[in-house]
């Protein structure tokens, strides 16, 4: 039962730790040479690029064109970044416990003990 659902993580997490492995898509593995690219779109000048999805492409030029065709159909963006998935180093969600939970109970790191005067209360 547990092998029927494969959870894929973004980035370069090796397969043994649950990361995505470039499996062949079509006949005879011909498309296994097409690397996976992550796509980031910025909707307006000055904002940050947001991750919108991923796609397969053979090279950077094609990846940008595919991203333009697939992810900007409804004027979602004016700028596209594409990065090959293997270059994204991601934290392994299975290590989330040791990486992130210790910060939950360290309330002294948050600036919440100041008494703000009413005039600047919206800070």
């Amino acid at each position: 039962m547990k092998n029927y659902i494969r959870k894929f993580y973004y980035g370069d997490i090796p397969e043994e730790k649950g990361g995505f492995h470039n499996t062949p898509l079509g006949d005879g593995g011909k498309q296994s040479d097409w690397p996976l690219w992550e796509v980031f779109i910025r909707s307006k000048q000055g904002l940050d690029h947001k991750h919108v999805g991923s796609l397969h492409a053979t090279d950077a030029q094609m990846a940008i064109e595919n991203a333009r065709d697939v992810y900007t159909r409804r004027m979602e963006g004016v700028s596209i970044w594409v990065v090959e998935s293997k270059y994204i180093h991601a934290s392994n969600p299975e290590e989330a416990g040791e990486l992130f939970e210790p910060a939950e109970d360290k309330i002294y790191r948050h600036p919440t003990f100041y008494q703000l005067p009413d005039e600047v209360n919206q800070m």
Binding site: L25, T58, M62, E65, N66, D69, V70
Partner: protein
């Protein structure tokens, strides 16, 4: 003068509509998801251009009829005058003025790409000139469509290079595609009567002048794609005057079936 402007506009509209219709046959059948979306996006762009041209042509036809005081629609049916829909859905094969290149079948990805490349390279040069047309409406449509066509040209030329300079199989498929399509590339540069008339009045473009820049650009891309520029000289003609290959009959059957079976039906 008016009739040649109408014919010229219909010619531009038919080119875009038929190529859009051909490309749309890839919907759901593309080799890869992203390319399926790419080719159908291009198809939508082309149909959008066709709509603009048809709307203008319908307006010209209706205006000229009012001048002649006729109440009869030249297209028959229950429609009062012409509309973009009647022009697209109710004309017969011989009334369509598209060139032969756009009605050729898809066959495989290589032939689709090559057809798109040949046409987009021609359309890019054409629209750049058409922006300077004395007819404001045509110039405006040209300016708007040029951005889309620039992308079509870029996309298709990169694919020509990818397939030509690719594997043994893709190279062979490109050679077959060139063999099939080359004979339809001459017609687009031979002006027919309404094109000559429109060009004389500075409304249309003299397409014979586009031939050399087109050939040079195609040569550049072919060189990079390691494909040989063909030296065959026999060219098929007739599309712009209504004499089409039998492909158009099948295309129009699909396109027009609903309107002809259920006249006046709406979504």
């Amino acid at each position: 003068m008016n009739q040649s402007l109408i014919d010229y506009t219909l010619h531009l509209a038919d080119n875009s509509l038929i190529l859009g219709q051909r490309n749309s046959e890839w919907c759901g059948h593309g080799p890869v998801l992203e390319q399926d979306i790419a080719i159908t996006n291009i198809s939508l762009d082309l149909i959008g251009q066709a709509r603009n041209f048809y709307q203008y042509a319908a307006q010209l036809i209706n205006d000229s009829q009012k001048k002649q005081g006729s109440q009869v629609s030249p297209l028959g049916g229950d429609l009062e005058g012409a509309s973009e829909d009647s022009l697209a859905y109710l004309r017969k094969e011989r009334e369509f003025k598209n060139c032969l290149l756009v009605e050729q079948p898809n066959v495989d990805w290589a032939q689709t790409i090559l057809r798109q490349f040949f046409f987009s390279q021609y359309q890019h040069l054409l629209l750049q000139e058409l922006q300077n047309s004395k007819d404001e409406q045509l110039a405006a449509i040209a300016e708007k469509s040029l951005k889309e066509v620039t992308y079509h040209l870029r996309w298709s030329s990169e694919w020509v290079i990818r397939l030509g300079d690719g594997t043994e199989e893709s190279h062979q498929r490109m050679l077959n595609a060139i063999d099939e399509l080359w004979r339809y590339t001459g017609e687009i540069f031979e002006p027919v009567s309404y094109e000559r008339q429109a060009a004389n009045e500075k409304i249309g473009v003299d397409v014979s002048k586009l031939k050399e820049p087109w050939e040079n650009k195609v040569k550049d891309v072919f060189t990079e794609a390691t494909l040989l520029f063909p030296v065959k000289t026999f060219m098929q003609t007739g599309g712009k005057e209504g004499k089409h290959t039998e492909n158009l009959g099948y295309i129009l059957t699909e396109l027009q079936y609903m309107q002809r079976a259920y006249p006046g039906c709406e979504w």
